[in-house]
């Protein structure tokens, strides 16, 4: 009996604590003290059947419980709704931190990824993906980087047993997408890529890339510039400028690298941009006709642009992170700095 009383008391305390309004408190009162089927009423009725030897102690326990229930209910009614001032002597320390179920934090790379996805989804792009373990064909050959091409030096590759490799960029997804569908194409692909580079402050053998591709009749380099300008401005929430410099990637021609005006100094020159006023973001260009030929698109009829950039770099710029390895240690003190 004693145990049962304890259980009911625990249960009552919980119910009362959960009752936030006068009506809810009243409901708790009925549940426990209701004349017909209140929990305590029933308990007292059961007392009749109990053996005399135990009656006294049981009765005492029930009565103690009853007075606890009654006084707690009276207190609850006394407090009533929030409008009534708290009685003196029961002052709350209003400076203590509040209580909330703290949500976990998405990884900073995921946050950058979601943001990029949003920006391009708004522009009508599709999200595509492809395998991380790739064939030489998709990672190199189809992208106009034949065997023994010196450009392969720029992308030191991890080879996987069985004549496969870890993709060195997200560009194979371009090929897979174009093989699957006819123009017009508007796609981005985000995901992991791998280079056989030793890790240091700014290099990691594992990193994340986004690849973009638009193919249609009459796509121009100006479309590429406009698209990246729009993207970069939204990504960094600034009215920044873009600069394109000629560069070489075998799957685009003309090929370019693009910079944004420094987000720290606005282009005047500071430490972050090494005084140049510009910050390197990624590579881009017009899809090479050989790539179109490889996927069976007519390079006379269709033109297109492609671009790429590293997610870690964007996250490092946005949050001022100076060591790329932090992204893969998953230190809770790091992760919890980016609640959203």
């Amino acid at each position: 009996m004693q145990e049962r009383v304890k259980t009911i008391r625990r249960r009552f305390d919980r119910d009362l604590a959960a009752a936030q309004s006068g009506a809810a408190v009243a409901e708790v009162r009925v549940r426990y003290l209701g004349r017909k089927s209140g929990v305590l009423t029933t308990l007292l009725k059961e007392l009749r059947d109990i053996s005399p030897s135990r009656k006294a102690s049981a009765g005492k326990a029930i009565n103690t419980l009853k007075s606890h229930v009654e006084s707690a209910l009276a207190d609850a009614r006394g407090k009533g709704t929030a409008a009534r001032p708290a009685p003196p002597g029961d002052a709350l320390d209003l400076s203590l931190p509040g209580r909330v179920q703290l949500p976990g934090c998405p990884h900073p790379i995921s946050q950058i990824r979601s943001r990029i996805e949003e920006i391009f989804l708004e522009m009508g792009y599709a999200l595509e993906s492809g395998p991380l373990v790739e064939t030489d064909y998709y990672n190199f050959e189809a992208l106009n980087i034949p065997q023994y091409h010196p450009a392969r030096d720029m992308q030191d590759t991890f080879y996987v047993e069985g004549g496969l490799l870890l993709r060195t960029h997200t560009s194979p997804v371009q090929i897979r997408t174009m093989q699957r569908q006819q123009p017009p194409v508007r796609m981005i692909a985000l995901g992991m890529a791998f280079r056989r580079d030793a890790a240091d402050l700014t290099h990691s053998p594992v990193f994340h890339q986004v690849e973009g591709l638009a193919v249609d009749e009459r796509i121009t380099f100006a479309d590429l510039r406009g698209t990246l300008e729009h993207f970069c401005r939204r990504m960094f929430d600034r009215d920044l400028r873009l600069r394109f410099r000629p560069s070489y990637f075998p799957f685009v021609e003309p090929g370019a690298e693009y910079d944004i005006s420094c987000i720290f100094c606005g282009g005047d020159g500071c430490r972050a941009c090494k005084g140049s006023g510009w910050i390197e973001i990624g590579g881009a260009g017009m899809v090479h006709p050989a790539v179109f030929e490889n996927v069976g698109y007519d390079p006379e009829r269709y033109t297109g642009f492609a671009f790429g950039l590293g997610l870690e770099r964007i996250a490092m710029l946005k949050h001022g992170i100076d060591d790329i390895r932090l992204f893969y240690e998953n230190d809770v003190r790091f992760l919890s700095q980016f609640p959203a």
Binding site: E46, G124, A256, P289, E329, N330
Partner: protein, 686 residues
């Protein structure tokens, strides 16, 4: 690659400051990495892109600069002293393999004196960080950095029969290269041989025993063109990378062999004395016809989205030494100079003109609308919900590499499966493809605990790699690990360690959020999980994952000495289910009746069994069965546990009477007694 400002000025008039020159070339596709020094002594560090071997020398860079500034390019004259002895009497050149060597030119210098170079030559070389060796080698080096063509000087007297034979190596042939290494050659490697043996690796490095020494007086100078792929394969196979191979791999200029040869021969005669033989021997079995590429100005404008005038395009192409013919105003014929092997198609010429104009002349536009986008896929939306579920359970997202240690991978591999390996890993801890996300997360837990973090709750969503036929099977998984404190520290909360229900909760929430047919959790046995602390997760009778307490012997390997709870789920099945639309259930119109039962049951009686028995009594509709207390201790017999259950009865069409509820309750109690041996904790049974 280093270039000297004063040296560049030999070939083109430069009026700009070095910084301005650097910016100009950067804008045209020769990015500047840095400048040291000032004025004529300024040394540039340019990054020469891999498709522009023609710019890997001062004349080539001057050519770019001349085109950009409109200045004339001054190519140095060779001025070979006339009247030398006849070349064919001193050397003989044969190409046996014209596929791999399209051209081989040579001359001899007789009576040269090997010694230190004059000042002007060592200064030039020193300006770009090249160490002087002797006057002959320095000249070949100088011409490499001036004109860009790699040359090689042989000691003619060490060539058997004074013969040069360009051929593939014979099986088992060896060669000691200039660096002193003995190299065993294979039959696909091209060598320069004399009548007897190899004397150089074609386009890569010479042999030690035919090199120029202080005793050398007669020299054979080589200026050849080797097939890029062959040079690259051989250099890679032997682990060699030289200034010569760097250029031949990227494509040297076959049209330059004789000019470079003559320039070097004349300079050797100037700095080392001797007579240059006449004429240049020039074996050219495979001359390439000049490449002609059609160019349509309108196509250039269309591709770039920029209205470039035809005059501008013509003039700049000509300045870059392209030959432009216009049989038709709209369709030009452009002949490509032999040093521009990178230009093969119309788009390459389009890049040439826009490089000259500057990419930033192009304005900003947006592609035409291409129809409504597809938006996120169902699978993607469900993955986002999964993230939400775990994050709202207070778990942080982790991202780990897919490359792990073999020993880490093994305990979590499906039965008997071997992970796929990386053939050329950087380190053994990252040499295998993961077959589970959990090992990576356990490494993260160890890192966090070692850094004094008291609550480490992490999840990850990503691919694992299971055995497949050719490619490994990429399967998307979700995994989580919980270690340390169960709750975040707060002044009002009593700290407690993570328990199994912290691990179960997120999976239940996931099931609710995804709205799929519920995930079923049932007791299981797994080698990675502690006995009696393992749950299998299934979906429509298909096993898709597990959760529980990671076995201590597994944790030991990760250096973790405190309990870790965790779980892993294959996402594919969940992602494949259509996104469920939630149906509205009308709110109840009649009050429900709650009854609490405090039961004493055997301690291995599970709540799901109690719930099943309760619900089996269906005289009155039961809306909810909730456990609200579980207690062991004084008052509860040994081997038993007290479980308190609240039952909510509700009828959809009327108010229930207390009599019918009471009789249902009695029936439930009777059923629990009968089926589970449960008894009510009440005064009558005390």
């Amino acid at each position: 690659m280093r270039f000297c400002h004063g040296w560049l000025k030999e070939y083109v008039t430069i009026t700009d400051e070095p910084r301005r020159v650097g910016a100009l070339l950067t804008g045209a596709g020769v990015p500047l990495d840095g400048i040291e020094g000032v004025g004529d002594d300024a040394v540039y560090d340019f990054e020469i892109l891999t498709n522009r071997p023609d710019c890997m020398n001062h004349v080539g860079l001057a050519r770019e600069l001349a085109a950009l500034t409109g200045q004339d390019l001054r190519i140095p004259d060779a001025n070979v002293p006339p009247g030398g002895p006849p070349s064919p009497e001193h050397a003989d050149i044969t190409i046996e393999d014209p596929d791999l060597c399209a051209r081989y030119s040579g001359r001899c210098i007789l009576g040269a004196r090997i010694g230190p170079s004059p000042d002007w030559l060592t200064r030039r070389l020193a300006s770009i960080g090249q160490r002087p060796i002797n006057n002959v080698v320095d000249v070949t080096n100088f011409v490499l950095w001036e004109l860009g063509h790699p040359l090689h000087a042989f000691d003619l007297d060490r060539l058997t029969d004074r013969r040069i034979v360009v051929r593939r190596a014979r099986r088992g042939e060896t060669l000691v290269t200039l660096d002193g290494e003995s190299r065993t050659l294979t039959t696909d490697m091209l060598v320069i041989a004399d009548a007897r043996r190899p004397v150089a690796l074609a386009g890569i490095m010479g042999a030690r025993d035919s090199e120029i020494s202080e005793a050398t007086t007669r020299i054979l100078l080589e200026s050849a063109w080797f097939e890029p792929i062959s040079v690259r394969r051989t250099a890679r196979a032997l682990g060699l990378h030289t200034d010569a191979s760097h250029r031949f791999e990227r494509g040297a200029d076959p049209g330059l062999t004789v000019a470079a040869l003559d320039r070097a021969a004349a300079l050797i005669a100037e700095v080392a004395g001797g007579e240059v033989t006449e004429p240049a021997l020039d074996v050219h079995p495979r001359p390439e016809p000049p490449r002609v590429v059609p160019f349509r100005p309108a196509r250039a404008r269309q591709l770039l989205g920029l209205d470039l005038p035809a005059d501008f395009m013509r003039e700049r192409l000509i300045r870059l030494q392209f030959d432009v013919r216009e049989p038709d105003r709209d369709s030009w014929q452009v002949t490509i100079p032999s040093f521009r092997r990178d230009v093969t198609r119309e788009v390459d010429l389009i890049e040439e003109v826009i490089r000259q104009r500057g990419y930033d002349a192009i304005g900003a536009d947006l592609p035409q609308h291409a129809g409504a986008g597809r938006g996120r896929s169902d699978a993607d939306r469900r993955a986002l919900l999964a993230r939400q579920a775990l994050q709202s359970a207070g778990i942080h997202e982790a991202v780990n590499s897919i490359l792990i240690d073999r020993e880490d991978a093994t305990p979590f591999a499906p039965h008997g499966a071997e992970p796929r390996g990386i053939s050329n890993p950087l380190q053994s801890q990252a040499a295998w493809l993961r077959m589970s996300l959990v090992p990576g997360l356990l490494r993260n837990v160890a890192h966090n605990l070692n850094h004094g973090i008291t609550r480490c709750h992490l999840y990850e969503i990503g691919p694992v790699f299971l055995p497949g036929k050719k490619e490994p099977l990429e399967e998307r998984r979700l995994a989580f690990v919980l270690a340390g404190q169960g709750l975040p520290a707060h002044w009002s909360l009593k700290p407690r360690a993570v328990d199994l229900y912290d691990a179960r909760g997120p999976v239940e929430l996931l099931s609710d959020l995804l709205g799929t047919s519920r995930l079923v959790l049932s007791s299981d046995k797994m080698s990675v999980l502690a006995e009696g602390r393992a749950l299998g997760i299934s979906h429509q009778d298909q096993s898709i994952g597990w959760l529980g307490v990671i076995a201590p012997d597994v944790l030991q390997r990760f250096g973790i000495d405190q309990p870790v709870h965790g779980g892993e789920i294959a996402m594919e099945v969940l992602e494949a289910e259509p996104v469920a639309t939630r149906r509205y259930r009308p709110l109840p119109r009649y009050p429900g009746v709650r009854r609490d039962l405090a039961l004493i049951v055997k301690q291995d009686t599970r709540f799901d069994a109690i719930e099943r028995v309760v619900r089996s009594v269906n005289t009155v509709p039961i809306e909810e069965v909730q456990p609200f207390d579980r207690y062991r201790g004084p008052g509860v017999p040994k081997g038993c546990v007290s479980v308190a259950v609240q039952i909510l009865f509700r009828h959809g069409g009327r108010t229930l009477t207390s009599e019918e509820v009471q009789s249902a309750q009695d029936a439930i109690v009777a059923a629990l007694e009968g089926e589970l041996g449960a008894r009510l904790r009440g005064p009558s049974r005390d």
